[in-house]
Point group: C2
Chain length 197, copies 2
DNA sequence: TCCGTTTTTCAAAAAAAATTGAACATAGAG
DNA sequence: CTCTATGTTCAATTTTTTTTGAAAAACGGA
């Protein structure tokens, strides 16, 4: 099986070029780190980004020198934010995954997912709290001091709610690839983008 | 000094309203967590967001029940991403900090800083690696197989560079508050934004 | 269906990040 | 300038996250 993985590791990479790749892979991992992604998972994405062909958990494990179980966690995380995709067909019973190599796409899906989560969490708590706060403001027995402060809090939440409604629109446009974002300028290789999976 | 902090804690917050604030503060911390911000630092921002007046390290320490040294780290992190500002004037020798309460502004400065860092890291390594890769492609002694692969890597980096140049423009527009982003719709209270520091 | 293999889950171990107290540095009042 | 209190840094501790190996579950070929 050590043999098999060597055979399947695909096109062998010269030492010099491996070193060059590693520099970029490390930067990719560092950047993803910035946004709270596990550094190793970022490295794995970097590897798959260059490999640019379907990989199995076993191959990942070999490249990364890590347990297959950790690779299982990694592909789950990367799949959830659509940085990689699971192919429909297995290869000798093994699941195959391929990296999204279009950074503009990863940008959209990664931040789309994160920001959507943010909007959901924040709007939900804002809307949970607002009625109670209104009640404090409106209640007869509330002291003027407390009323004034509750009103300030309420207005802050109203402002925040406005913001999050705007952000929801932003997320929607982000996901749809609204021309709004000026994406065309960046994407010369647009045509082949959605094909290769 | 226990006394002093009680006196200076500002407007006292009723238990019910404290509970409501805490729900929102927790959501804020959770969201910031999403982007790799220390959860406690996120809570601190939430506290300051509601408090909406200058606070000293000592007050933070009391609110958070944490060491002053940790608060020092927290304000540094929050200041760097411009979620809070240090005031020019001290209060009884103590530095004062105030939260940015306009979420659209925090959105811009937070992601502006993160994305700028990403662009810098990535462009720097892409540009470091590209010449060496070109050399491999061009060298006489390179095998056809290796040349083909090096060329693939090179093209990937060229595509990535294009993306990061686009992203640099995005960051610039984000920071300038380009109308492009549809910010106006969200910002009713724009005028007083830059005043209070 | 059964069997061999791959994938996922779980609890424990290892590694990394957050937090602290103490030492040091800085600042500003007197 | 000196003295005292605040702010920062550092090394050590605590807490959390990451990683692992083993066990359970899911899968697919025969």
């Amino acid at each position: 099986m050590e043999n098999e993985s060597a055979r399947e590791t695909g096109s062998s990479v010269s030492p010099k070029r491996r070193e060059l790749r590693e520099k970029v892979i490390e930067s990719i991992a560092t950047t993803m780190d910035l946004y709270g992604v596990n550094h190793s998972f970022g490295q794995l994405y970097g590897i798959m980004y260059f490999e640019d062909r379907p990989m199995t958990l076993e191959e990942m494990k070999d490249y990364m020198n890590m347990s297959k179980s950790n690779m299982s966690y990694a592909v789950r995380a990367l799949t959830e934010s659509q940085m990689i995709y699971k192919l429909d067909e297995k290869k000798d019973r093994k699941d195959q995954y391929i990296a999204e190599t279009d950074f503009f796409h990863t940008f959209r899906s990664f931040f789309g997912a994160k920001l959507q989560r943010e909007v959901d969490v924040m709007l939900s708590s804002i809307r949970e709290v607002t009625p109670d706060l209104s009640e404090i403001v409106l209640a007869q027995q509330t002291t003027p001091e407390e009323r004034e402060q509750a009103l300030r809090d309420l207005h802050k939440l109203q402002h925040a709610e406005q913001y999050y409604m705007w952000l929801q629109g932003f997320v929607d446009r982000l996901r749809d690839g609204d021309p709004f974002f000026g994406t065309e300028a960046s994407q010369s290789g647009e045509k082949e983008k959605e094909a290769g999976r």
